[in-house]
Symmetry: C2
Subunit: 266 residues, 2 copies
């Protein structure tokens, strides 16, 4: 049976709310995801929350499934008020469910690079919306996962989880330094393709090799020179306009679809 929490002062509410801060997520090894769609996506991928909160009086077949499966695996299910859900998630228009999940462990060595034709590698990505959007694109193009290099925004932030629309649970996520990544990359097959303005090679010209590691740089700075030098190939997208730039998540998607289009049957 779900227990009820209706007091704002409940210490668990405070603790869960604390997971909106990166340092607390790191220390506790847990993160928040919210919304029936995202939690259902997670469930279908085999991820159930350790604690499931839902709004009192809500009924939905997908919610019922989440509740029974969470309880069956020994998780805790808690009925609460919309106000407390809002307090925990920080969202103005709170979802009716919120789950507390253990963060995914795993370094580069846990990846099987042959499991997918495309891997996305992001360097010092700063915007959680971009990170989540890239995860969602990765899901759509059948990428294996997202490798976060250097000082990227936390993929387990509430904003990134939200923007990923559940793709967080379908994509492998690994964090590594560049110094760790390069030797790992070179220890097996794979082509490192950087998106850059410092090249004349059109992104539709090369035939990409599998697995393709698509490298996207920081939103404001792009890739450091030394990182571009390490790439097997630098390519650029045509830009006809004045601004001469694309949003990082958009550029990644246009590239990823090109790689997918070269390989898919039509």
């Amino acid at each position: 049976m779900p227990r009820q929490i209706t007091a704002f002062s409940n210490p668990l509410v405070k603790q869960v709310r604390g997971l909106r801060d990166k340092k607390n997520r790191r220390r506790e090894g847990h993160f928040l995801a919210e919304g029936l769609r995202i939690l259902t996506e997670a469930r279908e991928e085999g991820f159930l929350p350790e604690i499931l909160f839902y709004a009192i009086g809500q009924h939905h077949p997908l919610l019922d499934t989440l509740i029974s499966e969470t309880e069956a695996q020994g998780g805790e299910v808690i009925e609460t008020t919309p106000d407390i859900l809002h307090k925990m998630s920080g969202k103005d228009n709170p979802q009716i469910v919120l789950g507390v999940y253990p963060a995914f462990p795993g370094g580069l060595d846990s990846l099987d690079r042959t499991a997918a034709n495309i891997w996305i590698v992001a360097q010092s990505l700063r915007d959680p919306g971009n990170l989540g959007t890239i995860l969602r694109t990765g899901d759509a193009v059948g990428a294996g996962g997202l490798i976060l290099i250097d000082d990227c925004v936390d993929p387990f932030s509430v904003e990134a989880v939200r923007a990923s629309m559940g793709a967080l649970f379908t994509q492998r996520i690994v964090q590594a330094s560049w110094e760790e990544f390069v030797p790992w990359l070179r220890s097996g097959p794979g082509q490192l393709v950087g998106m850059s303005l410092q090249t004349d090679i059109d992104y539709q010209t090369p035939r990409y090799e599998s697995p393709t590691f698509l490298l996207v740089g920081n939103e404001a700075q792009g890739l450091p020179e030394a990182y571009e030098a390490e790439c097997d190939l630098l390519v650029k997208m045509p830009m006809l306009g004045k601004a001469d730039s694309l949003n990082a998540a958009v550029a990644t998607a246009v590239m990823a679809y090109e790689v997918l289009n070269q390989r898919r049957p039509r």
Copy 2:
């Protein structure tokens, strides 16, 4: 000579800060843009602010140009503190310049559809980041502008302007109802192409006609059925993953690059 404002209580500061609210932007017919890069982009497109604020003690050749050209066209230039810039823009890490611009007038009849091969049409787009990102993509693919249908987020919101990275000033922006848009569309050449999950036509199969009007729907709902029925063509992108969706700005970009790629010389 620039005048100085260093008091938070200055009524102009309050008025400019008020432009972060849509209802004030509507009433006053002005909006805010911030950052040397975006204001320079605007200047190069012929847009100078009516009021230019900059942080005391800042020197930069691009700032000097903005100051002298703003003064030359009769605009007001005001030196102020970083704290006041922060108060006005709401940004944690305030830019060193902020401009107050008159909102662009113009309805559908002001558009010359033959001026570009691609136009982007967004219906009930809710996220200002998506809107700005779509403007930036429009700039990159050489689109003529963005037609906002029904209840879209305000393109002149601080978040949308920021996400557009200056493309707000390179793209025509028009707001219209669907009932206004359809007769206008049908009064001249143009193919209306909707992005949809309700079709088996792959987005790379058709040869798009010029001008192509790319129609993207609301982030959560997609396009209403009646709107899809009006399209000359519905197409979908391959999605290999579980989530079966793409971010709206990403889907628009992948489509827009396909249209561009079909037409550009290589």
